[in-house]
Protein backbone atom coordinates (compact mmCIF):
# COMPACT_ATOMS: atom_id res chain seq x y z
CA UNK A 1 0.00 0.00 0.00
CA UNK A 2 1.24 3.46 -0.92
CA UNK A 3 1.78 5.73 2.07
CA UNK A 4 2.16 9.48 1.74
CA UNK A 5 2.98 12.11 4.30
CA UNK A 6 2.16 15.79 3.80
CA UNK A 7 1.61 18.94 5.83
CA UNK A 8 -1.89 19.63 4.54
CA UNK A 9 -4.24 17.27 2.72
CA UNK A 10 -7.17 18.94 0.98
CA UNK A 11 -10.12 16.74 0.02
CA UNK A 12 -11.79 18.12 -3.10
CA UNK A 13 -10.51 20.15 -6.06
CA UNK A 14 -13.47 22.50 -6.41
CA UNK A 15 -13.00 26.24 -5.87
CA UNK A 16 -12.94 25.81 -2.06
CA UNK A 17 -10.17 23.22 -2.18
CA UNK A 18 -8.03 24.81 -4.86
CA UNK A 19 -8.17 28.27 -3.27
CA UNK A 20 -7.10 26.67 0.04
CA UNK A 21 -4.26 24.93 -1.78
CA UNK A 22 -3.13 28.11 -3.56
CA UNK A 23 -2.89 30.02 -0.27
CA UNK A 24 -1.18 27.17 1.59
CA UNK A 25 1.30 26.31 -1.17
CA UNK A 26 2.28 29.97 -1.53
CA UNK A 27 3.24 29.93 2.15
CA UNK A 28 5.57 27.05 1.42
CA UNK A 29 3.85 24.19 3.21
CA UNK A 30 3.71 20.73 1.68
CA UNK A 31 0.21 20.65 0.13
CA UNK A 32 -1.74 17.80 -1.46
CA UNK A 33 -5.17 17.92 -3.12
CA UNK A 34 -7.18 14.69 -3.38
CA UNK A 35 -9.92 14.72 -6.01
CA UNK A 36 -12.44 11.93 -6.49
CA UNK A 37 -13.12 12.75 -10.11
CA UNK A 38 -10.79 11.79 -12.92
CA UNK A 39 -11.81 15.02 -14.69
CA UNK A 40 -11.99 17.80 -12.10
CA UNK A 41 -14.85 20.25 -12.66
CA UNK A 42 -16.87 17.87 -14.80
CA UNK A 43 -19.82 17.47 -14.82
CA UNK A 44 -20.78 21.09 -14.16
CA UNK A 45 -23.39 21.29 -11.38
CA UNK A 46 -23.89 25.03 -11.30
CA UNK A 47 -25.63 28.05 -12.83
CA UNK A 48 -22.15 29.56 -13.35
CA UNK A 49 -22.83 33.05 -12.00
CA UNK A 50 -20.21 34.70 -9.81
CA UNK A 51 -20.28 38.18 -8.28
CA UNK A 52 -17.34 40.47 -8.79
CA UNK A 53 -17.80 42.59 -5.72
CA UNK A 54 -20.47 40.64 -3.85
CA UNK A 55 -18.65 38.15 -1.69
CA UNK A 56 -15.27 39.72 -2.28
CA UNK A 57 -14.08 37.74 -5.24
CA UNK A 58 -12.31 40.80 -6.64
CA UNK A 59 -9.31 40.23 -4.39
CA UNK A 60 -8.82 36.71 -5.73
CA UNK A 61 -9.18 37.40 -9.43
CA UNK A 62 -11.19 35.34 -11.86
CA UNK A 63 -9.13 33.59 -14.54
CA UNK A 64 -9.86 35.58 -17.68
CA UNK A 65 -10.27 32.63 -19.99
CA UNK A 66 -13.25 31.33 -18.00
CA UNK A 67 -15.32 34.51 -18.38
CA UNK A 68 -18.19 33.99 -20.82
CA UNK A 69 -20.38 37.04 -20.26
CA UNK A 70 -20.09 40.10 -18.00
CA UNK A 71 -23.12 40.97 -15.87
CA UNK A 72 -24.23 44.28 -14.38
CA UNK A 73 -27.22 43.18 -12.33
CA UNK A 74 -30.44 41.22 -12.22
CA UNK A 75 -34.17 41.25 -12.87
CA UNK A 76 -36.48 39.36 -10.50
CA UNK A 77 -39.94 38.45 -11.77
CA UNK A 78 -42.73 38.08 -9.21
CA UNK A 79 -45.28 35.27 -9.71
CA UNK A 80 -47.57 37.48 -11.81
CA UNK A 81 -44.63 38.90 -13.78
CA UNK A 82 -43.83 42.18 -12.01
CA UNK A 83 -40.14 42.92 -12.59
CA UNK A 84 -37.73 44.30 -10.00
CA UNK A 85 -34.44 45.47 -11.53
CA UNK A 86 -31.00 46.08 -10.12
CA UNK A 87 -28.09 47.13 -12.30
CA UNK A 88 -24.79 48.79 -11.61
CA UNK A 89 -23.12 51.17 -14.06
CA UNK A 90 -20.07 48.96 -14.18
CA UNK A 91 -19.59 45.20 -14.49
CA UNK A 92 -20.61 43.50 -11.26
CA UNK A 93 -20.12 39.84 -12.01
CA UNK A 94 -19.71 37.19 -14.65
CA UNK A 95 -21.29 34.13 -16.12
CA UNK A 96 -18.31 31.83 -16.29
CA UNK A 97 -17.42 28.45 -17.73
CA UNK A 98 -17.13 26.27 -14.62
CA UNK A 99 -15.11 23.62 -16.42
CA UNK A 100 -12.44 26.17 -17.29
CA UNK A 101 -12.77 27.97 -13.95
CA UNK A 102 -12.20 24.88 -11.82
CA UNK A 103 -9.39 23.69 -14.05
CA UNK A 104 -7.61 27.06 -14.04
CA UNK A 105 -7.73 27.27 -10.24
CA UNK A 106 -6.29 23.75 -10.07
CA UNK A 107 -3.52 24.74 -12.49
CA UNK A 108 -2.80 27.78 -10.31
CA UNK A 109 -2.63 25.58 -7.20
CA UNK A 110 -0.21 23.15 -8.82
CA UNK A 111 1.90 25.97 -10.22
CA UNK A 112 2.05 27.43 -6.71
CA UNK A 113 3.63 24.16 -5.60
CA UNK A 114 0.70 21.98 -4.53
CA UNK A 115 0.56 18.29 -5.40
CA UNK A 116 -2.66 16.75 -6.68
CA UNK A 117 -4.03 13.23 -7.03
CA UNK A 118 -7.06 12.98 -9.31
CA UNK A 119 -9.26 9.89 -9.50
CA UNK A 120 -8.66 9.57 -5.76
CA UNK A 121 -11.69 8.96 -3.54
CA UNK A 122 -11.23 9.55 0.19
CA UNK A 123 -13.26 6.89 1.98
CA UNK A 124 -12.23 7.14 5.63
CA UNK A 125 -10.41 9.10 8.30
CA UNK A 126 -8.23 7.43 10.94
CA UNK A 127 -7.71 8.90 14.38
CA UNK A 128 -4.69 8.68 16.70
CA UNK A 129 -4.91 9.95 20.26
CA UNK A 130 -8.13 11.80 19.52
CA UNK A 131 -6.96 13.68 16.45
CA UNK A 132 -7.17 12.87 12.77
CA UNK A 133 -3.90 11.37 11.60
CA UNK A 134 -4.60 9.54 8.34
CA UNK A 135 -6.85 9.62 5.33
CA UNK A 136 -7.68 6.37 3.60
CA UNK A 137 -8.32 6.78 -0.11
CA UNK A 138 -8.69 4.74 -3.25
CA UNK A 139 -6.57 6.04 -6.11
CA UNK A 140 -7.89 4.55 -9.33
CA UNK A 141 -8.90 1.54 -7.28
CA UNK A 142 -5.63 1.22 -5.34
CA UNK A 143 -5.77 1.79 -1.57
CA UNK A 144 -3.52 4.57 -0.32
CA UNK A 145 -2.92 6.11 3.09
CA UNK A 146 -2.14 9.78 3.60
CA UNK A 147 -0.73 11.17 6.81
CA UNK A 148 -1.42 14.89 7.20
CA UNK A 149 -0.94 17.48 9.92
CA UNK A 150 -4.05 19.31 8.75
CA UNK A 151 -6.96 17.81 6.83
CA UNK A 152 -9.17 20.25 4.91
CA UNK A 153 -12.63 19.02 3.96
CA UNK A 154 -13.51 20.85 0.76
CA UNK A 155 -15.50 17.87 -0.39
CA UNK A 156 -18.86 19.39 -1.01
CA UNK A 157 -22.43 18.77 -0.05
CA UNK A 158 -21.83 15.13 0.90
CA UNK A 159 -18.55 15.85 2.69
CA UNK A 160 -16.89 12.70 3.97
CA UNK A 161 -14.58 14.77 6.18
CA UNK A 162 -17.59 16.52 7.76
CA UNK A 163 -19.37 13.21 8.34
CA UNK A 164 -16.41 11.26 9.72
CA UNK A 165 -15.35 14.06 12.06
CA UNK A 166 -18.94 14.59 13.17
CA UNK A 167 -18.83 18.30 12.29
CA UNK A 168 -21.86 17.70 10.05
CA UNK A 169 -23.43 14.27 10.30
CA UNK A 170 -26.03 14.70 7.60
CA UNK A 171 -27.92 17.60 6.10
CA UNK A 172 -31.56 18.00 7.07
CA UNK A 173 -33.59 17.42 3.92
CA UNK A 174 -35.47 20.68 4.49
CA UNK A 175 -32.14 22.52 4.30
CA UNK A 176 -31.25 21.16 0.88
CA UNK A 177 -32.40 22.65 -2.39
CA UNK A 178 -32.51 20.33 -5.31
CA UNK A 179 -31.51 21.62 -8.70
CA UNK A 180 -31.63 20.95 -12.42
CA UNK A 181 -30.12 23.24 -15.03
CA UNK A 182 -29.93 23.29 -18.79
CA UNK A 183 -27.46 25.06 -20.98
CA UNK A 184 -29.54 26.16 -23.95
CA UNK A 185 -29.08 27.68 -27.38
CA UNK A 186 -31.71 29.92 -28.99
CA UNK A 187 -32.98 31.36 -25.71
CA UNK A 188 -34.15 34.96 -25.77
CA UNK A 189 -33.06 37.12 -22.85
CA UNK A 190 -34.24 40.57 -21.74
CA UNK A 191 -30.77 42.03 -21.50
CA UNK A 192 -27.41 40.33 -22.00
CA UNK A 193 -26.08 42.03 -18.87
CA UNK A 194 -28.93 41.04 -16.54
CA UNK A 195 -29.46 37.73 -14.77
CA UNK A 196 -33.16 36.84 -14.68
CA UNK A 197 -34.91 35.22 -11.72
CA UNK A 198 -38.47 33.86 -11.68
CA UNK A 199 -40.35 33.25 -8.44
CA UNK A 200 -43.66 31.72 -7.39
CA UNK A 201 -45.06 28.84 -5.34
CA UNK A 202 -46.05 26.98 -8.50
CA UNK A 203 -42.96 28.01 -10.44
CA UNK A 204 -40.17 27.18 -7.98
CA UNK A 205 -41.32 26.60 -4.38
CA UNK A 206 -38.63 27.72 -1.88
CA UNK A 207 -36.35 28.63 -4.76
CA UNK A 208 -36.31 30.24 -8.17
CA UNK A 209 -35.82 29.66 -11.86
CA UNK A 210 -32.82 31.40 -13.35
CA UNK A 211 -31.94 32.48 -16.85
CA UNK A 212 -28.29 33.50 -16.98
CA UNK A 213 -27.25 34.93 -20.37
CA UNK A 214 -24.08 33.46 -21.83
CA UNK A 215 -24.21 35.44 -25.05
CA UNK A 216 -26.62 36.21 -27.87
CA UNK A 217 -29.22 33.41 -27.76
CA UNK A 218 -27.22 31.29 -25.33
CA UNK A 219 -28.12 30.91 -21.67
CA UNK A 220 -28.15 28.71 -18.60
CA UNK A 221 -31.75 28.01 -17.63
CA UNK A 222 -32.09 26.28 -14.30
CA UNK A 223 -34.05 25.81 -11.13
CA UNK A 224 -33.62 25.18 -7.42
CA UNK A 225 -36.55 24.01 -5.28
CA UNK A 226 -37.09 22.74 -1.74
CA UNK A 227 -37.74 19.09 -0.87
CA UNK A 228 -40.90 17.35 -2.02
CA UNK A 229 -43.92 17.12 0.33
CA UNK A 230 -42.61 19.96 2.49
CA UNK A 231 -42.20 22.56 -0.27
CA UNK A 232 -42.43 21.02 -3.71
CA UNK A 233 -45.06 18.74 -5.20
CA UNK A 234 -42.89 17.31 -7.97
CA UNK A 235 -39.22 17.07 -8.93
CA UNK A 236 -37.01 20.02 -9.86
CA UNK A 237 -36.77 18.49 -13.33
CA UNK A 238 -40.56 18.59 -13.74
CA UNK A 239 -40.78 22.18 -12.46
CA UNK A 240 -38.09 23.29 -14.89
CA UNK A 241 -39.74 21.60 -17.85
CA UNK A 242 -43.02 23.18 -16.81
CA UNK A 243 -41.43 26.62 -16.73
CA UNK A 244 -40.01 26.18 -20.21
CA UNK A 245 -43.30 24.92 -21.59
CA UNK A 246 -45.91 26.92 -19.70
CA UNK A 247 -44.56 29.99 -17.90
CA UNK A 248 -46.11 33.13 -19.48
CA UNK A 249 -42.71 34.81 -19.91
CA UNK A 250 -40.33 31.86 -19.75
CA UNK A 251 -42.10 29.77 -22.37
CA UNK A 252 -41.78 32.56 -24.94
CA UNK A 253 -38.10 32.98 -24.24
CA UNK A 254 -37.38 29.27 -24.40
CA UNK A 255 -39.79 28.40 -27.24
CA UNK A 256 -36.97 27.77 -29.72
CA UNK A 257 -34.45 26.71 -27.11
CA UNK A 258 -32.30 23.66 -27.69
CA UNK A 259 -30.82 21.91 -24.67
CA UNK A 260 -27.10 21.18 -25.05
CA UNK A 261 -26.37 20.19 -21.46
CA UNK A 262 -28.31 18.87 -18.42
CA UNK A 263 -26.92 19.63 -14.97
CA UNK A 264 -28.07 18.07 -11.74
CA UNK A 265 -27.16 19.46 -8.34
CA UNK A 266 -27.83 19.71 -4.62
CA UNK A 267 -27.42 22.99 -2.75
CA UNK A 268 -27.00 23.16 1.05
CA UNK A 269 -29.04 26.22 2.09
CA UNK A 270 -29.25 25.75 5.84
CA UNK A 271 -26.40 28.12 6.63
CA UNK A 272 -22.94 27.33 7.98
CA UNK A 273 -22.29 24.37 10.27
CA UNK A 274 -22.12 25.30 13.95
CA UNK A 275 -18.45 24.41 13.92
CA UNK A 276 -16.12 24.01 10.97
CA UNK A 277 -12.92 23.16 12.84
CA UNK A 278 -11.42 20.48 15.07
CA UNK A 279 -7.88 19.52 16.03
CA UNK A 280 -6.08 19.35 12.67
CA UNK A 281 -9.33 19.68 10.71
CA UNK A 282 -10.91 22.51 8.69
CA UNK A 283 -14.09 22.48 6.61
CA UNK A 284 -14.57 24.92 3.75
CA UNK A 285 -17.11 25.60 0.97
CA UNK A 286 -20.27 23.50 0.63
CA UNK A 287 -18.85 21.12 3.26
CA UNK A 288 -18.87 24.05 5.71
CA UNK A 289 -22.27 25.29 4.55
CA UNK A 290 -20.72 28.51 3.23
CA UNK A 291 -23.60 29.11 0.83
CA UNK A 292 -25.95 32.09 0.70
CA UNK A 293 -29.26 30.72 2.05
CA UNK A 294 -31.36 32.71 -0.44
CA UNK A 295 -29.36 32.89 -3.66
CA UNK A 296 -27.69 29.51 -3.24
CA UNK A 297 -24.48 31.15 -4.42
CA UNK A 298 -21.32 29.61 -3.05
CA UNK A 299 -18.34 30.05 -5.33
CA UNK A 300 -17.30 33.50 -4.18
CA UNK A 301 -17.63 32.61 -0.50
CA UNK A 302 -15.75 29.35 -1.05
CA UNK A 303 -12.83 31.09 -2.62
CA UNK A 304 -12.48 33.74 0.04
CA UNK A 305 -12.98 31.23 2.88
CA UNK A 306 -10.58 28.81 1.15
CA UNK A 307 -7.90 31.48 1.06
CA UNK A 308 -8.39 32.15 4.76
CA UNK A 309 -8.27 28.40 5.46
CA UNK A 310 -5.06 27.94 3.47
CA UNK A 311 -3.33 30.84 5.15
CA UNK A 312 -4.35 29.84 8.67
CA UNK A 313 -3.49 26.17 8.10
CA UNK A 314 -0.05 27.10 6.76
CA UNK A 315 0.62 29.41 9.71
CA UNK A 316 -0.43 26.71 12.18
CA UNK A 317 1.82 24.16 10.48
CA UNK A 318 4.75 26.55 10.36
CA UNK A 319 4.32 27.32 14.05
CA UNK A 320 3.99 23.64 14.94
CA UNK A 321 0.52 23.89 16.51
CA UNK A 322 -2.52 22.57 14.64
CA UNK A 323 -4.80 22.36 17.66
CA UNK A 324 -8.42 23.47 17.35
CA UNK A 325 -7.58 26.47 19.53
CA UNK A 326 -4.97 27.66 17.05
CA UNK A 327 -7.03 26.78 13.95
CA UNK A 328 -9.90 28.83 15.40
CA UNK A 329 -8.34 31.85 13.68
CA UNK A 330 -9.92 30.50 10.45
CA UNK A 331 -13.36 30.26 12.00
CA UNK A 332 -13.09 33.75 13.49
CA UNK A 333 -11.90 35.35 10.25
CA UNK A 334 -14.46 33.88 7.89
CA UNK A 335 -17.36 34.39 10.30
CA UNK A 336 -16.27 37.99 10.83
CA UNK A 337 -16.65 38.40 7.10
CA UNK A 338 -19.82 36.45 6.27
CA UNK A 339 -21.38 35.26 9.55
CA UNK A 340 -23.83 38.15 9.86
CA UNK A 341 -24.83 38.04 6.18
CA UNK A 342 -25.54 34.29 6.31
CA UNK A 343 -27.53 34.56 9.57
CA UNK A 344 -29.64 37.39 8.18
CA UNK A 345 -30.25 35.68 4.85
CA UNK A 346 -31.27 32.46 6.60
CA UNK A 347 -33.84 34.31 8.72
CA UNK A 348 -35.21 36.13 5.68
CA UNK A 349 -35.41 32.93 3.66
CA UNK A 350 -37.37 31.21 6.40
CA UNK A 351 -39.83 34.12 6.36
CA UNK A 352 -40.07 34.19 2.57
CA UNK A 353 -40.69 30.44 2.38
CA UNK A 354 -44.14 31.13 3.79
CA UNK A 355 -44.97 33.93 1.34
CA UNK A 356 -47.98 33.42 -0.90
CA UNK A 357 -47.80 34.42 -4.55
CA UNK A 358 -49.98 37.40 -3.70
CA UNK A 359 -47.52 38.54 -1.07
CA UNK A 360 -44.58 38.11 -3.42
CA UNK A 361 -46.40 40.24 -5.99
CA UNK A 362 -47.10 42.88 -3.37
CA UNK A 363 -43.43 42.88 -2.36
CA UNK A 364 -42.36 43.27 -5.99
CA UNK A 365 -44.50 46.40 -6.24
CA UNK A 366 -42.85 47.93 -3.17
CA UNK A 367 -39.23 46.86 -3.45
CA UNK A 368 -36.55 48.47 -5.59
CA UNK A 369 -33.55 46.44 -6.71
CA UNK A 370 -31.36 48.32 -4.23
CA UNK A 371 -33.68 47.46 -1.34
CA UNK A 372 -33.80 43.84 -2.44
CA UNK A 373 -30.00 43.62 -2.43
CA UNK A 374 -29.91 45.39 0.94
CA UNK A 375 -32.51 43.23 2.62
CA UNK A 376 -30.92 39.96 1.39
CA UNK A 377 -27.61 40.85 3.02
CA UNK A 378 -29.27 42.12 6.19
CA UNK A 379 -28.22 45.73 5.66
CA UNK A 380 -29.75 47.73 8.50
CA UNK A 381 -30.66 50.85 6.48
CA UNK A 382 -32.57 48.80 3.89
CA UNK A 383 -34.40 46.89 6.62
CA UNK A 384 -35.46 50.16 8.22
CA UNK A 385 -36.66 51.62 4.91
CA UNK A 386 -38.69 48.51 4.08
CA UNK A 387 -40.15 48.39 7.60
CA UNK A 388 -41.43 51.93 7.12
CA UNK A 389 -43.15 50.97 3.87
CA UNK A 390 -44.76 47.71 4.92
CA UNK A 391 -45.83 48.68 8.45
CA UNK A 392 -49.07 49.83 6.87
CA UNK A 393 -49.58 46.47 5.14
CA UNK A 394 -50.61 43.90 7.77
CA UNK A 395 -50.09 40.84 5.57
CA UNK A 396 -46.51 41.71 4.66
CA UNK A 397 -45.79 42.94 8.15
CA UNK A 398 -46.85 39.60 9.58
CA UNK A 399 -44.51 37.89 7.12
CA UNK A 400 -41.44 40.11 7.51
CA UNK A 401 -41.93 42.30 10.58
CA UNK A 402 -39.88 40.13 12.92
CA UNK A 403 -37.00 39.95 10.47
CA UNK A 404 -37.02 43.66 9.76
CA UNK A 405 -37.01 44.60 13.44
CA UNK A 406 -34.38 42.05 14.51
Amino acid sequence: MTKLSVDIAIVGAGPAGTSTAIAAAKKGVNTLILERKTNPGIPVQCGEAIGKTGPGIAEIGIPENCIINPIRGFRVYSPSGIAVDFAKDEIDGYIIDRRVFDKELLVEAVEAGSEVLVGTNVVDLKYKEGTVSHLIAKKMGEKIEINAKVVVGADGVNSIVAKKTGLRKNIKAIDLDTSVGYEMINVEVDDLELMEFYTGQNIAPRGYVWIFPKGENRANVGIGVGMQDKFASKTAYEYLNDFIKNHPIGSKKCAKGKIIEIRIGAIPLGGPNKKNIADGVILVGDAAGQVHPITGGGMGYSIVCGSIAGNVAADCINEGDVSEKKIAAYEEQWRERYGYEFRQALKLRKALEKASDKQLDELAKILTGELLVGISSGEKISKKKIAKIIIKRPGLWKLLGDYLLA
Binding site: N158, I160, N170, M227, A236
Partner: protein
Protein backbone atom coordinates in the same frame (compact mmCIF):
# COMPACT_ATOMS: atom_id res chain seq x y z
CA UNK B 1 -35.03 1.76 -2.60
CA UNK B 2 -33.43 1.79 -6.00
CA UNK B 3 -31.43 4.42 -7.89
CA UNK B 4 -31.96 4.58 -11.63
CA UNK B 5 -28.36 4.97 -12.74
CA UNK B 6 -29.38 6.14 -16.19
CA UNK B 7 -30.95 9.24 -14.62
CA UNK B 8 -28.62 9.82 -11.64
CA UNK B 9 -26.50 12.96 -12.07
CA UNK B 10 -24.25 12.21 -9.07
CA UNK B 11 -25.19 15.35 -7.14
CA UNK B 12 -24.89 13.31 -3.90
CA UNK B 13 -27.87 15.11 -2.40
CA UNK B 14 -29.41 11.74 -1.42
CA UNK B 15 -26.26 10.61 0.38
CA UNK B 16 -25.96 13.97 2.14
CA UNK B 17 -29.46 13.77 3.67
CA UNK B 18 -29.52 10.04 4.48
CA UNK B 19 -30.06 9.92 8.26
CA UNK B 20 -28.21 6.62 8.70
CA UNK B 21 -25.43 6.91 6.08
CA UNK B 22 -26.85 4.06 4.09
CA UNK B 23 -25.80 5.66 0.81
CA UNK B 24 -22.10 5.66 0.05
CA UNK B 25 -20.39 7.66 -2.66
CA UNK B 26 -18.16 5.39 -4.66
CA UNK B 27 -15.86 6.57 -7.43
CA UNK B 28 -18.52 6.80 -10.09
CA UNK B 29 -21.80 5.82 -8.49
CA UNK B 30 -23.86 5.87 -5.32
CA UNK B 31 -24.03 2.52 -3.56
CA UNK B 32 -27.12 1.59 -1.55
CA UNK B 33 -25.83 -0.42 1.41
CA UNK B 34 -27.71 -3.15 3.27
CA UNK B 35 -28.62 -0.89 6.21
CA UNK B 36 -31.04 1.16 4.06
CA UNK B 37 -34.45 1.04 5.76
CA UNK B 38 -36.36 2.46 2.83
CA UNK B 39 -37.32 5.62 4.77
CA UNK B 40 -37.66 7.56 1.52
CA UNK B 41 -36.17 10.93 2.45
CA UNK B 42 -33.64 10.64 -0.40
CA UNK B 43 -36.42 10.29 -2.98
CA UNK B 44 -37.90 13.59 -1.82
CA UNK B 45 -34.77 15.55 -2.67
CA UNK B 46 -33.74 13.78 -5.89
CA UNK B 47 -33.83 16.55 -8.52
CA UNK B 48 -34.61 14.21 -11.34
CA UNK B 49 -36.78 11.51 -9.77
CA UNK B 50 -34.14 8.81 -10.10
CA UNK B 51 -34.93 7.21 -6.73
CA UNK B 52 -37.82 4.79 -6.27
CA UNK B 53 -38.84 3.53 -2.86
CA UNK B 54 -39.78 -0.16 -2.57
CA UNK B 55 -43.50 -0.81 -2.28
CA UNK B 56 -44.40 -2.49 1.01
Amino acid sequence: MKINKALCGLCFGCASVCPIDALVADDKEIIVTAICNNCGVCAKICPIGAIKIDET
